[in-house]
């Protein structure tokens, strides 16, 4: 088994004292930032990106592994104790977790979430080890037309599957694509949307865009509608589980990953759909149906394991195809690009040492999370009391540090502010942020694949549909686009029959 020897080498790299220290720092920072209310995993990763700038790539990605899993872990604490999920993947956890905490079973809810996270992450990361090299090998054979089709699919699904309004999703995507156009055209050196500015001809750094849309936009929007009376978190002791709780939780822990992983790997909104599916499944299978809605532990255990495994699935697509399926993965992809590393089928060949060290660190991060965070839970709970003025002032502060650190240029701070204002307007008028971020990051890559495909076919459009794979993907795209029309027709017919 080639991948297991590579994985053992990866552990060899990741377990050196320095790298282990990076992993611990990553886990602690990720959890701290993730626990803070109002900060989801994507914003946490974007804000923490600059601290890795000074490190070598291996150290940086080991730290990133910790930040990635840590920030998601932190999110579940927030939703259980404060009933205010920082991101979509913890919405479901709050539905049972918060009632549990209110009934004085917060410790058990936290423990069920933490162990669920651990189990889900372990199974998910194992699946990643098994599947990623296979996917990468298959993907090496696919050409520019296929890649273009897959990226188009990502654009369409991120705007159509998620969110409530398609036209607003597309508006957001197009804003992102337009920002992605700024700079020198990679193939011809033609200036696009630079207006003669030397700074703009380098393009706008993806990290600046992500930090601006997530962090600055969010802070400005919160400022406009700040809740004056801060929600009180529920005090909690050390997490523990009784025997009865374990008996009720272990099956949901094991079922969750198999719902989460596949959904994480496809561009369908990350953990939102699978955690909900897990919730529904556990509810149906539960023997204590009357407890649901009042704090059923299965409703915490299952969705948390699912969310954690879906994060591993997301990493699988990100590493092997260069395809980010969630906002957090989009920021991770930007992090790779910072180091001049392009995730994709060739990554496992070209950067084998780095990738396996990263994957090994995912396992290490999961163990560290479990060992550190069970005893530290009361400390994390204290973070929920942070005064909101300090919290959002801090977000703006670190967003500025991050954007400035990208290239040490004040112009980046101005760009950060302008795009932050766009982020504010988008939140005000219900334009989802994720499509814009995906557009900025994937747009240039998609254009390159498109032009490469058309170069091969000498400008003929048939060059885009010359493989079974690309045709399949286009059919899928059409199906997604046509779905609301089909549904509307069905509903119309139903309403004609009905009263």
């Amino acid at each position: 088994m080639g991948s297991f020897t590579s994985l053992i080498d990866g552990f060899g790299t990741a377990l050196t004292p320095v790298n282990l220290m990076y992993a611990v720092i990553g886990v602690l920072l990720g959890t701290t930032i993730g626990v803070l209310p109002g900060i989801g995993a994507a914003m946490a990763v974007a804000l923490l990106l600059p601290i890795t700038y000074g490190l070598d790539p291996t150290g940086a990605f080991i730290m990133f592994a910790g930040i990635y899993y840590g920030s998601m872990f932190g999110g579940s604490t927030t939703s259980i104790l404060l009933n205010t999920p920082g991101e979509t993947s913890s919405v479901v956890t709050a539905m049972e977790g918060n009632p549990m905490a209110k009934r004085g079973r917060g410790s058990q809810a936290l423990a069920a979430a933490a162990i669920g996270h651990f189990v889900g992450g372990m199974i998910g990361t194992l699946l990643l080890v098994l599947l990623a090299p296979v996917v990468a090998k298959l993907a090496v054979g696919i050409g520019a037309p296929d890649f273009f089709a897959i990226m188009l699919l990502a654009f369409i699904s991120v705007t159509s599957v998620l969110g409530k309004s398609r036209v607003r999703g597309f508006a957001s995507l197009l804003i992102g694509l337009a920002i992605g156009l700024i700079g020198l055209d990679e193939m011809t050196g033609q200036q696009r949307l630079t207006f003669g500015s030397l700074h703009l001809s380098d393009g706008i750094d993806v990290v600046v865009v992500a930090v601006a849309l997530f962090a600055v936009g969010e802070s400005l929007w919160v400022a406009a509608h700040l809740r004056r009376i801060q929600a009180e978190p529920i005090p909690v002791g050390r997490p523990w589980l009784g025997r009865g709780d374990v008996r009720r939780s272990w099956r949901p822990w094991l079922r969750g990953p198999f719902i989460g992983f596949p959904f994480g790997a496809i561009p369908a909104g990350g953990a939102e759909i699978p955690t909900f599916l897990s919730y529904v499944t556990e509810r149906r299978l539960s023997k204590n149906k009357d407890e649901w809605g009042k704090g059923a532990i299965e409703g915490v255990a299952g969705p948390e394991a699912t969310a954690s495994a879906s994060a591993s699935g997301t990493l699988t697509s990100m590493l092997t195809l260069g395809l980010p399926t969630t906002a957090t993965a989009a920021v991770m992809l930007a992090a790779f690009q910072q180091y001049g590393i392009q995730p994709g089928p060739l990554l496992f060949e070209r950067e084998s040492g780095l990738v396996w060290a990263l994957i090994a660190s995912l396992f290490i991060a999961l163990v560290l999370l479990l060992v550190l965070n069970l005893p530290l839970a009361p400390v994390w709970a204290k973070l929920l009391r942070i005064p909101r003025p300090y919290l959002y002032a801090g977000i703006l502060f670190f967003a500025s540090v991050g954007a400035y650190a990208v290239s040490g240029d004040v112009v980046d701070l101005v760009v950060l502010f302008v795009i932050g204002l766009i982020g504010l307007a988008m939140r005000r008028y219900g334009l989802p942020v994720l499509p814009a971020v995906i557009g900025v990051i994937l747009g240039p890559a998609a254009e390159q694949q498109l032009r490469r495909a058309l170069q091969i076919s000498d400008g003929s459009v048939s060059g885009l549909v010359n493989s079974p794979m690309s045709v399949t993907v286009y059919v899928l795209i059409l199906a997604i686009l046509a779905w609301p029309l089909v549904r509307r027709r069905a509903r119309d017919q139903a309403s004609m029959v009905g009263p």
């Binding site: 000074g54 156009l181 033609q190 003025p389 400035y404 307007a425 219900g430 032009r451 058309l454 400008g459």
Partner: protein
């Protein structure tokens, strides 16, 4: 940003339809992208497509989406403002706080060059905390100065990410 402010029971038409402003901005952006693409010098015969094709598609699509959004708004569609843990949508938008926050942010942009990060960062933090309603005139500046100095040293000396020290660091 147009048409925010107090929620009167019956809103004037320009507040009711302020979302049309989004359409206008999108359309303007589309025109900008299109004009930029069309004014590119013709690249000598090249296989495949030139650098202007994708911008033309994006610009055109922006205009199309702007029109579709306008239609949706006029038919009564509304973008749902984003909720969140610390967001109270029932209160009217407090745009004064936003302006103060923006001022704190821009103060950092202006001051980071001449005064260095330790000072400009502290101004940013204190200003932002003040804007958001914190009024502890002892604790706020202390937290701001502490955070700014620690961040400076951690980034500059431990992480190898250089930030401008300014005159203050020259003295220390």
């Amino acid at each position: 940003m147009s048409g925010q402010g107090s929620t009167v029971e019956r809103q004037p038409w320009y507040k009711e339809y302020s979302e049309l402003g989004v359409s206008v901005v999108l359309a303007a952006l589309g025109v900008l992208v299109l004009v930029d693409a069309i004014s590119m010098p013709a690249i000598p015969a090249q296989r495949g497509i030139g650098p202007d094709v994708v911008p033309i598609v994006v610009g055109g699509a922006l205009i199309l989406v702007a029109a579709l959004l306008a239609r949706d708004v006029l038919r009564g569609g509304k973008g749902e403002a984003e909720g969140g843990e610390d967001i109270d949508l029932s209160a009217p938008g407090d745009w004064r706080t936003v302006l103060l926050l923006a001022a704190a942010f821009l103060a950092n942009v202006v001051l980071i060059g001449p005064l260095g990060f330790p000072i400009s960062g502290a101004v940013l933090f204190w200003g932002a905390a003040y804007a958001l309603g914190s009024r502890d005139f002892v604790r706020d500046p202390l937290v701001a100065a502490g955070l700014s100095l620690v961040t400076y040293f951690v980034f500059n000396d431990l992480l190898g990410v250089s930030l401008p020290g300014g005159p203050l660091m020259g003295v220390l």
